[in-house]
Amino acid sequence: MNGVELRNVTKAYAGLTVMEDINLEIADGDFLVLLGPSGCGKSTLLNMIAGLEPTTDGSIHINGRDVTSLEPDERDIAMVFQSYALYPTMSVRRNIGFGLKMRGMLRDEIDKRVAEVGDLLQITPLLDRKPSQLSGGQQQRVAIGRALVREPSVFLFDEPLSNLDAKLRADMRIELKRLHERLGRTIVYVTHDQIEAMTLATKVVVLDKGGIQQVDTPENVYRRPANRFVASFVGAPTMNFLDGKLSQNGDDIVFDSGAGCLPLVNVPAEARDLIGRPMTLGARPEHMLFDETGISSRVLLAEPTGPDQYVRLAVAGSELTARSGPEQIFRSGSDTRILIDGARMTLFDSQSGQALLTA
């Protein structure tokens, strides 16, 4: 198989297992994002793919070749780092060409390829500068250039945008996406930023505590989280969670939190099988609907963000967040009514946290 494959990869430090039995297939041309909070093991996983950290057990295959025991430079990969990791004493030209020089490529050929990459990334005027004379965004381009020039079959990115300011980050995101579409190479990209994951990935791997929580498209990770961790990690403001159970109220199904019953609309038929079972209901702020038929709730605070506003509500003994358009005015202390879009809610097992029902 082309692409990258991890089979039963395990990592232990001093006898302490930090990652166990990771299995992952990355198809050729995928833009795979490893997403997770800091300390979830995503960088360790990337370093193992790169060969910078040895695996304790299992094997790693790149383009069908077992690379588990190979050095980083034998694996046909290139990597872009968070800190850019440009060689401070070399000019941009030498930085980009260094990997080719180490492989014994002739000087003319190196110059030609560096010039091509310079053109592609629009850094030709910077080629003779030192990294310290470049802005953060320019350094980032050089770091990408250093990876591109080698024409590897897999690119590894370790939080490449997190040292840039917000505006530049958005620009670079678009450029990375274009670059991927243009080159069609496999990319493995580590980030803790879900916006990057959502916008860039063809496939997202959500990691936590050294284990894979979910592998899916960005849309599905958002809409159909596999468990409570994924649901709470992806999405901002975070999903609302409410403990309780589904119960029958006449023809309708409501969610009984013990302190009150939240009305649901558009409940899928499968939900009926779950009635009475203790569980956690998850609903994103945009799936909380302001409606006259809803449950009475008190407005605690409204946070306008420009296009929307997020309203903090006291409902049935809990605090929940709902999204509303910017026009409506919510006064703190006033009352409103709210219900939940049952077609888009997620139900989690209260013990295991696994999703029982998703949209």
């Binding site: 370093n47 790169a50 430079d73 780092f81 800190s83 990791a85 401070p88 260094f98």
Partner: protein, 284 residues
């Protein structure tokens, strides 16, 4: 406020004078004649400054010495140069490579070895002096310049390793990873990436090692023998054992000549010396 400033500068100047006056006394004494020294005070400037004492200190006084040579410092100056330069290059080079290997390549036991080396820096040389003599004698280089060089490398490597190791520890891990992905192995990573970054620390290590080795006395005294007598040892002999009347002007001129190379390096290097010392890189 103004009186405060005045007092501040006053105190600083007093301190500076106290530090500088022995140096001043050394220089002015070396320019005086013995008659002037006997009749004047150490604080007075030479009335008729001359370099007679300097030339006597450098070339020696052939009328006074028995046996070969004239007892001047010129030959021991050459010995010091022949010892310092190779010892400097070898100890700094070995320290750079060892420090780099310890800092940049994750190895089991690297920290244990570094701690062991760090402790070695504080071992008084007297403790291992005799075994070292036997080792150097067994190698057949006792009392020779190569023997003295080897001893200086042995005693300097802990210090230079510490300097480079601590510096290379501050190099971001990402840079090392990037170089490994680019295909640089141990030596090419060192040569193309690490050494160019470490130029300032290399300068500091060179300057401090030069100062330490030039100023060494115990190792020169023990391992130099007659052939490899460095300048500090020669100075001590000159001052300690003179026939007839003591010539303080010659003593001071000889002292000045011995101090000049390190003094010059210090004054020319300025900030680097300060930086090296303030970086906590200090050897007793």
């Amino acid at each position: 406020m103004r009186y405060n400033r005045l007092a501040l500068y006053g105190l600083l100047c007093v301190a500076a004078i106290m530090i500088l006056s022995p140096v001043f006394i050394m220089i002015s004494t070396s320019l005086k004649s013995m008659d002037e020294i006997r009749n004047g005070s150490i604080f007075t400037l030479p009335v008729d400054p001359g370099f007679a004492a300097w030339s006597k200190a450098w070339f020696g006084d052939c009328a006074k010495t028995l046996g070969e040579g004239c007892g001047g410092l010129s030959s021991s100056f050459m010995t010091s140069v022949k010892v310092v330069i190779p010892a400097l290059i070898l100890s700094v080079g070995l320290g750079a490579i060892t420090g780099y290997a310890l800092a940049a390549w994750k190895m089991k036991g690297a920290n244990v070895m570094f701690a062991a080396l760090l402790v070695g820096m504080f071992i008084p040389p007297q403790v291992t002096l005799y075994p070292l003599i036997i080792m150097i004698r067994e190698l057949g280089i006792f009392g020779t310049i190569p023997g003295l060089i080897l001893v200086h490398v042995i005693w300097g490597v802990a210090f230079t390793t510490m300097m480079f190791r601590n510096f290379f520890k501050t190099v971001p891990q990402d840079l090392l990873k990037a170089a490994r992905i680019d295909g640089a192995g141990f030596w090419r990573l060192f040569w193309h990436v690490m050494l160019p970054i470490s130029l300032p620390i290399l300068g500091v290590a060179m300057i401090l090692q030069f100062t330490y080795i030039w100023n060494d006395f115990l190792l020169g005294l023990t391992f130099g023998g007659r052939a490899g007598q460095p300048m500090t040892v020669a100075l001590n002999n000159l001052v300690g054992s003179q026939f007839g009347e003591k010539e303080y002007n010659v003593d001071m001129a000889a002292t000045m000549l011995t101090a000049l190379p390190t003094l010059a390096v210090y004054l020319l290097s300025g900030r680097l010396f300060v930086r090296g010392i303030a970086a906590g890189a200090v050897k007793g």
